[in-house]
């Protein structure tokens, strides 16, 4: 079965700067693929090439098994786009904006479709409001309605929740997740928010200096950071525990007399807890901070910056 989107050796030079350097990836049906990277890593340039707004220097893009360059209109009819950086016309109402896009996409029964989507995204009562008078969260949900008018099989989402408060972002994300489950759509999702990416993406492409340096599930990428943090809190001075850690040259920090923060490999944590508990010390609390996708992001960022 053809992937919905296939990118092969895509590159973009902006003057003497190589913004995207020969990236290749695929998006299968029903998958959410995250495109992660620091600012300037090439995420937005990639999205713009995927929309045909920026011309690639080399490489190829194909949607639904057909070359994008020669099937631009049929491809764009089956995909859609949303970005926190691109809004709709500010002076016109929500309904007027959506009517324009419904006609652009030749949406059949567009009045009913717009009503249904506005209700789903809980902005049905906003339809006659002027777009620029809406809050950021409402605008994002109206933009989501716009991005679903043509019943796309694939949506390119460029940091859709970037300007939202955490609770509104969470709600928006839930709506996207539910819609994806109901309609089995695919999404290419860029974000700086690692929790968001871990939550909704099946796969993550890690972009650095225009190249894909990692491609895996969020869970597997997080596992690549082997260091974890173990926080042990005691009733009194943990003298025996300190002796144990020093005897085995395990790195630790004592920010509080009764608390030890131990940096170690994730797989060593059970053994350390077991060994220390044998010393007879009473632990009040054990906290394990496992590596997350954010830790991986920070590690990669440090590595690519050349900083320790």
């Amino acid at each position: 079965m053809n992937p919905l989107l296939k990118v092969d050796q895509l590159a973009k030079d902006l003057g003497s700067f190589r913004a995207v350097d020969g990236i290749s990836f695929e998006i299968p049906k029903g998958k959410i693929v995250g495109l992660l990277g620091k600012n300037g890593a090439g995420k937005t340039t990639t999205i713009h090439m995927l929309l045909g707004i920026t011309t690639p220097t080399s490489g190829s893009i194909s949607y639904f098994g057909k070359d994008f360059n020669s099937h631009r209109q049929t491809s764009l009819q089956r995909i859609n786009y949303i970005s926190s950086y691109n809004t709709l016309l500010g002076r016109t109402t929500v309904l007027e904006n959506l009517q324009i896009y419904a006609r652009l996409y030749n949406t059949q029964g567009h009045k009913e479709k717009i009503r249904e989507l506005l209700t789903y995204f809980e902005v049905g009562d906003m339809k006659n409001k002027i777009y620029e008078d809406l809050s950021s969260g409402q605008k994002t949900r109206v933009n989501l309605v716009k991005s679903l008018l043509n019943e796309p099989e694939l949506i390119l989402m460029d940091e859709p929740t970037a300007s939202l408060d955490p609770d509104i972002a969470d709600k928006t994300l839930s709506l996207i997740e539910n819609w994806r489950k109901e309609k089995n759509i695919s999404i290419l999702y860029t974000s700086h928010n690692m929790q968001e990416v871990s939550r909704i993406c099946d796969d993550v492409l890690f972009l650095s200096n225009g190249t894909i340096i990692e491609h895996d599930t969020p869970q597997n990428l997080a596992k690549k950071v082997t260091k974890a943090e173990l926080i042990l809190t005691y009733e009194k001075d943990p003298k025996q525990a300190l002796e144990y850690l020093q005897g085995r040259s395990i790195l630790y920090e004592q920010r509080h007399p009764s608390q030890l923060i131990i940096q170690t490999q994730e797989q060593d944590i059970p053994r350390i807890i077991f060994d220390i508990s044998k010393t007879g010390l009473w632990m009040n609390d054990i906290t394990i901070n496992k590596p997350t996708l954010e830790d991986f992001f920070l590690q990669i960022s440090r590595d690519t910056n050349g900083t320790p």
Binding site: H48, R72, L89, L104, Y105
Partner: protein, 265 residues
């Protein structure tokens, strides 16, 4: 080209026009006021001593609105989309540039004819001149040439904005005030200093407005006026095709450099 997408952009134009007081003022109020004020000043200066020049000035101002309204519509419609950061959304849909600008060309024609109609009524009721005194074919050729010239200039200017960014948007307003004195809109070409006459001869509008003055003066289209119309029309056609090439080059360059997308961020 898909008709439904052209209709969608026309619908956008309609919404943008009636929801934007600036556009209503720029497209309908200012041109009408220009014609009225220009007429009053001309009447004050010339009185009844030189009716021919008086009429030439009013009618030239009337026809100038066809050119300026067309150019304004083609440019400002796109600027509104850039100001709203909506351009990427539009071109992420199956909409093509040809469909987009065809819709704006249709919208520009409607607006230019409306402005011309309103201006004609002012000229008739306030100054007693009816444009239908001009031969119909002459009227048609004048409007068509000024409309096509407005599209050509509009395309080139918006092409430059696509290629070099919204920071040069002032050219859409500045260019028209540069071309107006050079194109001898309100006075004969011979009034201009010699070096500027050479520049004026390279502008199609110059021939059209020379032809307009001659027709008003003669009361009919003389062979020399016809010659001016033919030269003007050929020149307009040449510049129109040249503008398409320049526009295509600027759009391609804008997509190559990534500026097309940057304009919308």
């Amino acid at each position: 080209m898909a008709l439904h997408r052209i209709k969608a952009i026309l619908l956008q134009e309609y919404f943008m026009t009636y929801r934007s007081l600036e556009t209503i003022v720029d497209v309908f109020v200012y041109p009408s006021m220009n014609i009225a004020v220009f007429g009053f000043i001309s009447k004050y200066l010339l009185g009844s001593t030189n009716q021919g020049i008086f009429l030439s000035l009013i009618v030239a101002m009337l026809f100038w609105q066809v050119f300026s309204t067309t150019q304004y519509t083609v440019n400002v419609a796109t600027l509104w989309n850039m100001w709203a950061h909506n351009l990427t959304n539009l071109f992420a849909s199956p909409l093509t540039l040809l469909e987009y600008f065809t819709a704006h060309a249709i919208s520009a024609l409607i607006k230019a004819l409306l402005v011309f109609g309103i201006g004609s009524l002012i000229a008739y009721f306030q100054f007693g001149y009816s444009v239908i005194q001009l031969p119909f074919s002459f009227l048609l050729i004048m409007i068509l040439n000024l409309y096509v010239a407005g599209i050509a200039i509009g395309l080139v200017l918006i092409g430059f904005i696509f290629a070099y960014g919204i920071r040069i948007q002032a050219i859409t307003w500045a260019f028209i005030s540069i071309i107006q004195p050079l194109a001898s809109v309100f006075y004969p070409l011979s009034i201009l200093p010699e070096p500027f006459q050479s520049i004026a001869r390279a502008i199609p509008l110059t021939y059209m407005f020379e032809a307009l003055r001659q027709t008003i003066q003669d009361g009919f289209v003389s062979p020399s006026t016809l010659q001016l119309l033919v030269t003007g029309s050929m020149s307009t056609s040449f510049y129109f095709f040249l503008s398409l090439l320049i526009f295509k080059h600027l759009i391609d360059s804008s997509r190559q450099t990534g500026q097309f997308a940057k304009n919308d961020l």
